[in-house]
């Protein structure tokens, strides 16, 4: 039986690109998983891997996710109890935090303790949103574990596409496995056990992003 990768659809925009990118990366594998875009809690509950995308405002995304009956419960059961590989993307990654401060304070999933706060680079020449290609630096842990590593010694290096005005400040710095620089270090990726998340958009990051997705699809936490 091929694996199933569930990309969670909770009304947060552009899942077409995410789906296409996951299909493209899946095609490179010997045993291609099935990529489904779904809001069905039953499918989410049974999936082998989970992807939580997200664009827009924190509060809207949070509300959209919690508005689907049984979805958060299914996600929690699968990602937290079964501990299947989970990848959050952009606001989907930010939702892992305890809370987000964007147009009010909103509770997140709280799976990786931390707060999502506005980017405030000291240099006024630095524009907000942080939009475009920036280099990602991974730490020692990420070199051998998680979606930046192919599990065989090759570590992703290069640029990824970012577009965000808020960023994830983790309570435990050990959960930040990759950073970029925008007037100071900015969290590019978080990881705790089987739960990973990227601030950048792998589905928009050309070969870098497709490699990261491929690593995620091969990852055994």
């Amino acid at each position: 039986m091929a694996e199933t990768v569930a990309i969670i659809d909770y009304g947060s925009g552009n899942l077409h690109s995410a789906h296409s990118a996951f299909v493209k990366s899946a095609e490179r594998l010997d045993h291609s998983p099935r990529i489904v875009v779904t809001d069905d809690p039953e499918i989410v509950r049974r999936a082998d891997r989970l992807v939580l995308p997200g664009v827009g405002a924190y509060g809207d995304c949070r509300a959209g996710l919690f508005a689907v009956p049984g979805l958060v419960e299914a996600l929690t059961e699968n990602a937290r109890q079964k501990a299947n590989p989970f990848l959050g993307i952009c606001v989907g990654m930010q939702l892992l935090a305890t809370k987000g401060i964007e147009k009010g304070t909103h509770q997140g999933l709280g799976w990786i303790p931390g707060t999502v706060v506005p980017l405030t680079p000291a240099d006024p020449a630095l524009k907000i949103p942080h939009m475009g290609w920036n280099e990602v630096a991974v730490n020692e842990k990420a070199r051998i574990y998680g979606p930046f590593s192919d599990g065989a010694g090759t570590v992703l290096a290069g640029h990824a596409y970012f577009v965000h005005s808020y960023h994830f400040v983790a309570d435990n710095p050990a959960h930040v496995i990759a950073t970029t620089d925008y007037g100071g270090p900015v969290t590019a990726a978080v990881l705790d056990g089987n739960i990973a998340g990227t601030q950048f958009h792998p589905e928009k990051s050309q070969h870098y992003g497709l490699d990261l997705i491929e690593n995620f699809l091969k990852w055994t936490p």
Binding site: P129, G132, A137, H207
Partner: protein, 260 residues
């Protein structure tokens, strides 16, 4: 480690076809926007822009289809503009696979449309496209005004004030086109680009008038743009994306060169 400046090829699309075609690589069909997009993706363009100049609203289905087909094959940011008048237009484009939608005339007619769009979809996917012409006489302090309908209709609106207001209302990016320079290949209107870029907190994309690689570099160095958009110099094979990036990097501009 720093944010890189972006090079954005822009394809004018009419009735689902690239206007004048793209002749820079061995395309089987020079008029197919999807094929051109794939080629630019492979060439390492940092983003891609489609500008739909289809006259009738009925032919929009063609645009949604080509955006969807592009998003299936290109894993890079895509901005789509032209004829965006309602929140529903934006929703359809985003669902088809656009990452950013550019609003032009509709933002001039109804400024609150930008607030509604940004509230609904987030600032990050709302680009306001500003077409401006210099209206001050030679020797006067420079002043620019907004023109719509390809530069034919004057509005009397000050371009810099409008830009500041658009950023406040929720535009996540501004695409600033000099209607004086567009199509002339004589370089950006650097005064216009710089005045707006220095006045707003959001990224500015310079557009209109690129004829050489030096023009691109000046857009960043003297125009203070975060990204530069060009059409004909790429489409007709005068320069490749790689040549453009190498040229800008040599001028000291941070560029993403690891694109293969």
């Amino acid at each position: 480690m720093t944010l890189k400046n972006r090079i954005i090829p822009c394809l004018d699309v009419k009735d689902g076809r690239v206007v004048k075609g793209v002749q820079f690589v061995d395309l089987i069909d020079a008029g197919d926007p999807v094929e051109a997009a794939i080629a630019y993706d492979a060439a390492g363009a940092d983003e891609l822009c489609f500008l739909d100049i289809t006259a009738s609203h009925e032919d929009r289905a063609t645009l949604f289809d080509l955006v969807a087909r592009t998003a299936e094959h290109c894993f890079m940011p895509l901005t789509v503009g032209g004829g965006v008048r309602a929140v529903e237009d934006i929703r359809k484009l985003l669902l088809s696979g656009a990452d950013k939608v550019s609003i032009n005339t509709a933002a001039v007619r109804d400024r609150d449309f930008v607030n509604r769009a940004a509230d609904k979809f987030g600032n990050q996917c709302i680009t306001v496209s500003i077409d401006a012409k210099r209206v001050s006489a030679e020797g006067e302090p420079p002043r620019w005004e907004i023109f719509t309908h390809g530069g034919r209709n004057e509005t009397g609106i000050d371009a810099v004030e409008f830009a500041v207001e658009m950023a406040e209302r929720g535009a996540g990016e501004l695409l600033v086109t000099s209607m004086d320079r567009d199509g002339t290949q004589s370089g950006f209107d650097l005064g216009l680009t710089r005045t707006i870029a220095d006045a707003v907190p959001v990224p500015v994309v310079a557009s209109g008038g690129v004829g050489s690689l030096d023009d691109l570099a000046e857009g960043v160095l003297k125009g203070h743009a975060s990204a530069v958009l060009a059409a004909s110099i790429f489409h007709f094979g005068r320069f490749s994306i790689a040549e453009a990036k190498a040229h800008l990097a040599k001028a000291g501009i941070p560029m993403r060169l690891d694109t293969a």
